[in-house]
């Protein structure tokens, strides 16, 4: 009898467990509503908003936050995290857990991936707000036809020269070439650039008519690659010339090329380099009197189409106050706060009125970056771009080391990129 009773109880227990399996459905519906329930009017004002800012840049955020708090009465907190990788990694974990931020900053080439993963949400702002920024910087913030954030700062490679070794910035690359031909000997170099790195090399390829992905009305088309078209090959041949004639040393090729180049410039062994604003401080610290100019014109008369990197403000998809978070994004990126940012950190906000402002126009370095930015194209922000870097760099390296001809190398790279895109991004 007892035994039967025991068996019966076990059975009941087992059925009970199985029947209740999985989450209850009513619970889910309440969950999914949370996002939209906070359509903001003043009644729904959140107590505070959290911002994740890049490391060491919070100093430019503080005044903007203070004025926002005063205007709207919402407390804003910020935390500094490495923008290039930490923020994305952290929000993947903190977001779903409900402890994430409302507003984050990301380099724009991560926007596509972050949007696909559902980490950031599209924002809606007035056209008049959008119009305050340069066109290319807004383009950078668009993914699949939707605006995913507002630009915060922009950067692009420019021409940096040692004023003791070069009187003034040359107008054309032909001048640079002639200078280099004469100047380069005994481990001294006239001009150095990391053209085995696709980030820098693309500016040459694109200047001759190559492109990574074709830009259509709906955004970039990952199926249409322009890396091995006539212009790209011509550009790569131009790059090849610099390596072949030993104007660029072999030791500049590869993973550690950047530190090698900086080292040579710091020692005064390189008269000029192509690099971005991130290098300026290091050169100044090394005691070099640097001059900064937009890149000289290519031999075909075109400008270098450098990749523009745009850092932006984005609204976290996990935020429960997206409306207010968007307001905050608008506030901290407006002309007034952008100017404060420039003054405090030297980052250049792509705000039209600010670029014409004497505060930037009269600063040689900032002006050069701003002018070069107007020639450049935003780095593709679609996730497919991740498949481009390695094969493209490989092709350039093989050309630079003389192992492959430009056409063959680019064809091979395009093939690899295409098959990688097909495999990893077809769904």
């Amino acid at each position: 009898m007892k035994r039967f009773f025991a068996l019966f109880l076990t059975l009941v227990l087992a059925i009970g467990v199985l029947a209740a399996c999985g989450p209850q459905n009513n619970q889910s519906s309440s969950n999914s509503n949370e996002g939209s329930s906070s359509e903001g009017d003043d009644a729904n004002k959140p107590e505070k908003l959290v911002v994740w800012e890049d490391t060491d840049k919070g100093i430019a955020l503080e005044p903007a936050i203070a004025s926002f708090e005063e205007e709207y009465g919402i407390k804003v907190e910020f935390k500094e995290l490495g923008m290039a990788d930490k923020i994305r990694e952290q929000i993947r974990l903190d977001g779903p857990a409900g402890t994430g931020p409302d507003v984050i900053t990301l380099p724009h080439d991560q926007i596509g991936q972050a949007a696909v993963e559902g980490l950031i949400s599209p924002i809606e702002v007035e056209q008049s707000v959008v119009d305050t920024f340069t066109e290319s910087s807004i383009q950078a913030q668009n993914y699949e036809g939707k605006l995913y954030g507002l630009p915060k700062a922009t950067e692009t490679p420019v021409f940096v020269y040692n004023k003791e070794l070069m009187d003034k910035a040359p107008e054309t690359m032909d001048e640079v070439y002639d200078f280099s031909k004469e100047y380069t000997k005994d481990k001294n170099y006239g001009f150095l650039a990391l053209w085995d790195n696709f980030y820098f090399a693309n500016s040459v390829l694109a200047g001759y008519g190559g492109y990574v992905f074709e830009r259509t009305d709906e955004g970039l088309d990952p199926q249409n690659l322009g890396l091995n078209n006539e212009g790209a090959v011509e550009g790569t041949q131009y790059i090849q010339k610099w390596y072949e004639e030993d104007l660029f040393p072999k030791g500049l090729i590869g993973e550690n090329g950047g530190s090698t180049m900086d080292g040579l410039f710091n020692e005064g062994k390189a008269a000029s380099v192509m690099t971005g604003p991130w290098s300026f401080q290091g050169y100044k610290d090394a005691g070099i009197d640097i001059g900064v100019a937009p890149m000289p014109k290519l031999p075909n008369g075109e400008n270098f189409q450098t990749f523009i990197g745009v850092k932006g403000w984005h609204v976290s998809n996990f935020s429960e106050n997206k409306e207010w978070a968007t307001k905050l994004v608008e506030w901290i990126s407006n002309a007034e706060n952008a100017k404060i940012r420039y003054e405090k950190t030297g980052e250049i906000p792509p705000v039209k009125s600010l670029i014409e402002d004497p505060i930037i126009a009269d600063n040689e370095a900032a002006n050069a970056v701003a002018v070069q930015s107007s020639y450049g194209v935003p780095m593709p922000n679609i996730p497919e771009m991740a498949e481009v870097w390695e094969p493209a760099a490989s092709a350039l390296q093989l050309v630079a080391t003389g192992k492959q001809e430009p056409k063959a190398a680019l064809d091979e790279a395009t093939k690899t990129i295409k098959s990688q895109i097909e495999q990893n991004h077809s769904n």
Binding site: A6, L9, G118, K187, G251, T401
Partner: protein
Amino acid sequence: MEATERQTKHRKTALALSLIPGFGQFYNKQLLKGFMFLILTVSFAVAFADLINIGLWGIVTLGEKLPRDHSIFLLTQGIIAVLVILIGLLIYFLNLRDAYLNGRNRDLGIPLNSVREQYRNVTEQGFPYLMLTPGFFLLIFVVIFPILFVILLSFTNYDLYHSPPANLVDWIGIQNYIDIFKLDIWRNTFIDVFSWTIVWTFVATTGQIAIGIFLAVLMNQKDLKFKGIFRTIFILPWAVPAFVSILVFAGMFNETFGAINNDILAAFGIDAIPWLTEPFWTKVALILIQFWLGFPFIFAMVTGVLQSIPEELYEAATVDGANIWQKFRGITLPMVLFAIAPILITQYTFNFNNFNVIYLFNGGGPAVSGQTAGSTDILISWIYKLTFTSAQYGKAAAITMILSAIVIGVALWQFRRTKSFQEEDMM
């Protein structure tokens, strides 16, 4: 005795009653123990019901509805649920076993332990288990849990387009494993990377061991002066953090500016060698660097072993007319290998996964056309590239599994063959 055994069936009754934990113990009149089992079971059920319910549902479905379900969190919850269930089953089994054993004792007419005796049993015989339990549980969640996670991940389609919170992850069986071998670009890369990994492991490790033993034997010569100084010098490469050494070497091997080409090889009249741009020479450089990084450890260990080889053996050999080489072959080498064989195996497995030196020296480069890996990428650094640039988490997990299977297989095979584990004592 036999008569009582036939008459009573306490063990069966106790076992059957124990289906509800504790009742068998009540039947055996061990109230305290019975209550403990019962309370443990009830609290287990109450505390973990939710976790097990959601966990099991989650690990089977990996979520059904967005945005409520986060597949990866569900997967982790599922693994925890399974682990908890296993622990529960263990307790349940102990309960059954206890009831059965005590029932049998009653059948056999052996008096049962009193509460006091049970307590003593637990504290005295069970003491080691008691001490081990916390560590064991920690081990389950720190070591076993991640391993299970990777195993399961390799059977999912977790990549950029199937990553929470925007999308659900699905089970796809062994598709990842099939892809690695079926898709051209993957198969070619895999085979190339795999063969270099094997070569790298054997050459680099065997070399560092040979150098270590050779130097240790050399340093152990009785009439050598200044042993202390020499030993200190040979230990030094070990004292410098490996990543510092590797970065310094990367600079020294630079084709145009590095000390090796400019000073060392030039002094011998040898032309500059393309250390960083030619796959063959990069491989040579990597192996040389690993010799440098790896030998001090072997050197230190062998030096220790050499001290413990009895002098009589050599004296006897000398009397028998053995020469130095014979002494080394017949006495020193077997004794050393016997003592350090297990550690040598770990040296091989370490180099098989030696990410640091590959990644820091040249980032897996130089480039190879038509591949997703560089020419010096080993499996582990290739996996790193896959996960961090292409976001192919599922495939990376599958390759990790293959890699672990190889390492574990080789290690087991070697451990079993090693004399150290077979014989108690060599002498």
